[in-house]
Symmetry: C2
Subunit: 229 residues, 2 copies
DNA sequence: TGTCATCAGGTGGTCTGACCAATACGACCC
DNA sequence: GGGTCGTATTGGTCAGACCACCTGATGACA
């Protein structure tokens, strides 16, 4: 026997927030939303309420707001995850250590599922990412291509939550790698990505997961992040 | 050669948000923060700015705001993760499927690390959670004790990001399980938790991870969620 | 003495209108 | 065609008013 709590009516801000989210969902990335003043008039609420609602959507990664310019639709649902991880572990080195560990849990399984589920288009995209890694000139390009490969794998797993996590993890790692962490052996990463890609092309899930596991161990060693055993 | 973007000065809302976050960090869970009007006077900004900043902190899970009552400090950093996952996968059944898959990636590794890293206190807490599961009368109590056990394992892994993810995942699963999903064989879960706990007490990391993997497969079958292979 | 109802004061929620800071766009000039 | 300037529009902030909700104190009654 459970007595449910009595539901409070949503505040105006919450209601407007949902309306705006619906509106944003009907638009594409980069499209403009109506101005604060216009939304205020159209929805029959004060501009404060529109502002507060819009700012919620911004924090959720659904829109970006620019003073003088308006609001535009974006697809950055990972943004609140980034903030949360940053708040939880403010120290960059510590955070990199923890992120690396989470990747070691998540990514072999993503890769295993990708081997089973990747579409032809996704396999092609993985090949392109691998090419970009092979041809990368700067460290920034390497990191970008590297993380792209990992993001694509997570997408190919068919699990949107894993894909979102990977977006967040990779972006945070990219930010850390831009600040003083250097990869010393890109050639090994290229080879290991190649082994992963091959296992996926063969639809060999176990081999793919093992190859990813190996790759992440190397990547961790490369970054000089040995987590306590 | 990288030219960094020119940093914009933070908006007043951002600045106040950081101040409030600092203030919240100095307080304990449940403590009250100054009122909007007081903060407005003390910080020399308008009440709108304080409101907008406070609402950011609420969305981040650092405070809770109650009309007529004020703001209190909470520790719910997983809240924005819950929202993001909910936005990403609005359909409850789909979300449960995906969450279950993510758990299958994360939890064996958490459990392996817990076997290596759990403190004596954490092992005791795990035992208590197991007792609570054994003694649970209602389905709600079972689910709560079950999820508590998993949360404690994630904490015992020593990885705060995993622990945060597990908080979010378990809360979302609990919410779904409160809405029509029924576990049919609690006795098996109790046995499997027992096996996990035993492996942890023996500090056998591989056995712990295997036991968790097994447990999650059973739990998934129990919920009738067979993910596409 | 304990319980319940009421009320006042204080809290956050919303509104309005004014003004400031940043952006975009069009017109004009070289 | 490219650069500059001015204006209109956008979001950011402010102040003050009023509304809806909460809390704690007080008084009445059993």
């Amino acid at each position: 026997m459970t007595i449910d709590t009595i539901a409070r009516p949503p505040s105006l801000v919450e209601t407007v927030c949902e309306r705006l989210a619906d509106l944003a969902r009907q638009e594409s990335d980069g499209d403009r939303l109506p101005t604060e003043r216009e939304l205020s008039a159209r929805l029959g609420v004060s501009r404060s309420v529109v502002r507060e609602a819009a700012q919620r959507l911004e924090l959720q990664g659904l829109i970006e707001i620019r003073q003088g310019s308006g609001m535009k639709v974006v697809d950055k649902l990972h943004k609140p995850l980034n903030s949360a991880f940053h708040l939880l572990v403010p120290d960059e080195k510590q955070r990199l250590v923890h992120l690396t560990e989470v990747r070691q849990a998540l990514e072999p399984e993503n890769t295993r599922l990708a081997a089973l589920r990747a579409t032809g288009t996704q396999v092609k995209e993985l090949r392109l990412a691998q090419s970009r890694l092979e041809q990368a000139r700067s460290f920034e390009e390497q990191v970008h291509a590297d993380m792209d490969f990992h993001r694509l794998l997570a997408e190919a797993s068919g699990n949107p939550i894993s894909a979102l996590l990977m977006q967040s993890l990779s972006e945070l790692m990219q930010a850390s790698l831009a600040h003083g962490y250097r990869r010393v052996t890109p050639a090994l990463a290229i080879r290991q990505h190649g082994a992963i890609l091959q296992a996926i092309e063969k639809r060999d899930a176990a081999a793919a997961a093992r190859a990813m596991h190996r790759h992440l161990l190397s990547a961790r060693a490369d970054l000089g992040l040995d987590s306590p055993r």
